[in-house]
Symmetry: C2
Subunit: 159 residues, 2 copies
Amino acid sequence: MLNIRFLTTGSLKEGYWRDALSEYSKRLGGLCRFSCTEFKEVRLSDNPSQAEIDAALESEGEKILAEFSPRAYKIALCVEGKQLSSEELAAKLEQVSAVSSDVIFVIGSSYGLSPRVKQACDLRLSVSKLTFPHQLMRVLLAEAVYRALNIVKGTKYHK
Amino acid sequence: MLNIRFLTTGSLKEGYWRDALSEYSKRLGGLCRFSCTEFKEVRLSDNPSQAEIDAALESEGEKILAEFSPRAYKIALCVEGKQLSSEELAAKLEQVSAVSSDVIFVIGSSYGLSPRVKQACDLRLSVSKLTFPHQLMRVLLAEAVYRALNIVKGTKYHK
């Protein structure tokens, strides 16, 4: 059974995102060992400069990097990443599970992820060309992983 | 102000999707005249044949086509469609608003949309290569349209 871990920055403020994620956590529990760790977002000023944003991403990134174990397969969510279909994501997870039992997905704050975090990951994954709030992205990713694990298992869910 | 209408098939069963959509409906109300019409999904057998699926899509499609007005700009959500960034979707809506005040987005049931509906639309839009449940797709689209209208208006939301 894969250990699947989400490393996320910023909290789920809206009740409906929390409820949706909690439902997916429950469902994922039947297919993998799932956990979601939430790091605090660095507070920025109203009109942050690029330097302020970069410093925040660096500081948020350090906490993420401290959780990276060398043998885990690490996937960074970013808009410039590669898009996979649900079947391709399933194939990727199956392929990874042959060499490692740990998969980490990293979702950044509203300004994304630091270059160091992206470089330390094995894959950069993009969900959409559209921008989505990071709260919703967490729910989207949970759904995508749940579907992919169902494809691996051959259940009916993905139809 | 644009009239933006979602034509959807199947109901939102989960409370968290209903709550999320209701929040976005409220937010969209400040930027456009928003409505969401829900058509009944045709009930299929447990292991439907392709013919059964095609017949269901045809029947669902007829109700959708009956709502199409010639002057509305019609957008079909489908995985083989074109992906747009949030900025590109904003530009498209701005461009459409110069010639029509009505925009219709069509989301199919879990088996998608009939070929006739897709052909009758002005644009086929894809959100992701990943498959998402149609319930979640409705929320995703509401978020995407809300963000796009904020970009058109020049507010801070999309940052």
